[in-house]
């Protein structure tokens, strides 16, 4: 049976993006008091795992690093069909950049034991670095293919995938175990079902902290992050309006002047 890990991130609900407040000290979005949802691309990663489970049988473990409320997201993944959930939660993990996050996730994968494939969404809707998947693969010393839009061959330990590449795609053969980051073109995620929610009652979610993972404090969170955000601000789009007055010729003259000043003509 395939052993699959799906990395899922709990991200702020984009529908309330205009209400989000940035922490002025950590330059990050505090996640404790805002509604969290599954990172959209991670839903596609989970769906890829679920389709493999339906075809061949698989055990799917959800791996999620986040504050305690992120446990709801893990529960949701179990309701969608995953088998077990692991929430990596510890105040020490806060403020982690992609490097520290990937390291923590990789240590968790090592603790889980041998896996065949690790699925991740290509990027998160908040950080959007696209680095976590490749960095995880590096820490685990296994291959990675990013931006996978189609899995062409998925049997045995040599798979073939199509991955986005500039204006086309490249076809890649990879040997498992491997990390695969996915795009939304890969599949259409299924919706939650009531029976799935009920089935999730019997599924396990465990919490692992830094100590459980046996990681030194300086390798996680803000301390373990070689990069940090120096500034985060809301982008405000403003429109200036000028209503052109006068005769047609005067309006045209004024318009040409505006465009010339803007460097357009």
């Amino acid at each position: 049976m395939l052993k699959i890990v799906v990395c899922v991130k709990a991200v702020p609900d984009q529908s309330i993006a205009d209400k989000l407040k940035i922490d002025p000290v950590t330059k990050s979005l505090p996640r404790l008091d805002i509604p969290l949802v599954i990172n959209s691309l991670d839903s596609h990663a989970l769906e890829a795992a679920l389709q493999l489970k339906e075809k061949y049988g698989a055990h799917i473990t959800i791996l999620c690093m986040g504050p305690p409320p992120a446990g709801n997201i893990v529960r949701e993944c179990l309701a969608l069909g995953a088998d077990k959930g692991i929430l990596l939660t510890d105040p020490a993990f806060a403020g982690a950049d992609a490097f520290a996050t990937a390291y923590t996730l990789a240590k968790a994968v090592e603790k889980i034991g041998p896996v065949d494939v690790i699925f991740c969404g290509m990027a998160s809707s908040d950080g959007a670095t696209e680095w976590v998947g490749p960095e995880m693969a590096a820490f685990l010393s296994i291959p990675v293919v990013t931006m996978v839009r189609e899995i062409v061959k998925d049997q045995g330990d040599e798979w073939i995938v199509n991955a986005d590449y500039e204006h086309g795609y490249r076809r890649v053969k990879l040997k498992l175990p491997a990390v695969i980051t996915v795009t939304r073109d890969l599949n259409q995620p299924k919706s939650l079902s009531f029976s799935g929610i009920l089935n999730a009652r019997s599924k396990e979610i465990v919490e692992w902290n830094r100590e459980k993972l046996d990681i030194p404090a300086e390798r996680v969170g803000l301390k373990g992050s070689p990069t940090y955000v120096t500034e985060m601000a809301h982008l405000e789009s403003r429109r200036e309006v000028e209503i052109l007055e006068g005769s047609l010729e005067e309006k045209v003259e004024r318009l040409v002047q505006i465009l010339s000043d803007a460097g357009v003509v």
Binding site: R75, E76, S191, S193, F194, S195, L198
Partner: protein, 378 residues
């Protein structure tokens, strides 16, 4: 200490129900509004989403999720389409007659297929002679050789034309004090849906009349026992019927509030959004207060129902409160929209029309007050 929070699982139910309503029901609303039909598609969607299985026990093919879960689902569906929520809640009413009053054989025969939506149920009580006075029922049956020959007419029946199985209240021709509920199925000779109603609101919700002409009903189709028909019908209506109306009203109130907040934040008058004006703020506050209060009343009654406690009185209070509140909310929502509130492209016009139909359904507000006063005076 009372815990007023939903469980994590209930929050997931809500999330699933909301997504279902927004993706599977909402696209059909314009057609339902325009044509007063289109119910087949939404009924199919309800079945695929396991909505009919929510209150049916697991041993009979259901999910056994209970009545709080049902109320959550209704609220989310009604937020998008009260017409769909109304049909759904009355299907649930039909199912309840079997759950509460069916024999084991009847449960085994009907509930599994009701759970999947393969068959649909409803309850038919109201007649042209009155709905608030079910004892004044004129649909009659005569016992002939162990069968029940049924004659009569019912009106204002939700799902009249879509239900395969109808639980019909009728009076014994030879004993006017004896009322019995009989299971009548589509295809039985002499039974047919007739006139379809065009309501001011809830367009696309199938409502109509049914006619019984010498329908021969076998004795195994008596539900709840001969002479116990009023008890069977009212047991289903008082909890599930009224509870369903609460769900419809809460969802519609939420929709009114959301539309009002959105419009008032976008509409600029005197250089600022009208949400800055106290007159608008007070209307929105009233809507919010009524919604929060209605939720507490409704979910308390549903929680009692889940515990197996009698909840008819509590649902009467919740039904009265929420259906009155939603009519107020819809009017306020239209007022907030000003002239735009009269234009059909704005959903608040539909909300206002839908709100009117909630009041008299499953018992008028005056009947609710009769029930509540009896409770208070007892």
């Amino acid at each position: 200490m009372i815990d007023f929070t939903f469980t994590e699982e209930q929050e997931l139910f809500r999330k699933a129900a909301r997504k279902f309503a927004e993706t599977k029901i909402a696209p059909h609303v314009p057609v339902m509004e325009k044509t007063n039909r289109g119910w087949d598609e939404v009924v199919r969607a309800l079945a695929e989403a396991e909505m009919f299985a929510i209150t049916i026990p697991k041993e009979h093919g259901g999910l056994g999720m209970g009545y709080v879960a049902r109320l959550i689902a209704l609220e989310e569906i009604a937020r998008v389409s009260v017409a769909t929520a109304m049909m759904y809640q009355v299907f649930g009413l039909g199912i309840e007659a079997f759950i509460k009053s069916g024999t084991e054989e009847q449960k085994k025969k009907y509930l599994p297929r009701l759970a999947t939506g393969e068959r649909l149920a409803t309850v038919a009580v109201t007649e042209p002679s009155g709905g608030s006075d079910p004892k004044g029922c004129r649909t009659k049956y005569k016992k002939v050789n162990g069968t029940y020959v049924l004659n009569g007419r019912k009106c204002f029946i939700t799902n009249s034309h879509t239900a395969d199985v109808q639980v019909i209240l009728a009076v014994d021709e030879d004993n006017p004090d004896s009322l019995t509920t009989l299971i009548v199925e589509k295809g039985m000779e002499g039974f047919k849906p007739t006139h379809e109603e065009h309501k001011v609101g809830m367009r696309g919700c199938n409502t109509g009349e049914i006619e019984m002409k010498n329908v021969v009903v076998p004795s195994e189709n008596v539900i709840g026992g001969e002479g116990k028909g009023l008890k069977v019908a009212m047991a289903a209506i008082s909890d599930v019927g009224r509870g369903g109306m609460v769900g419809c009203a809460l969802g519609l109130q939420q929709a009114c509030l959301e539309a009002s907040v959105k419009f008032s934040n976008e509409r600029i008058l005197y250089g600022k959004p009208i949400s800055n004006l106290q007159a608008i703020q007070f209307k929105i506050a009233e809507m919010k207060i009524d919604l929060e209060a209605g939720r507490l009343l409704g979910y308390r009654a549903a929680a009692m129902q889940d515990k197996g406690e009698r909840s008819g009185n509590e649902f009467a209070v919740a039904k009265y409160y929420t259906t009155e509140a939603v009519q107020k909310a819809a009017k306020m929502a239209v007022d907030i929209h000003g002239g735009y509130g009269c234009m059909e492209e704005f959903p608040v016009t539909r909300y206002l029309r839908d709100s009117f139909v909630l009041g008299p359904s499953a018992g008028t507000s005056d009947i609710m007050k009769v029930i509540i006063s009896r409770w208070a005076l007892s």
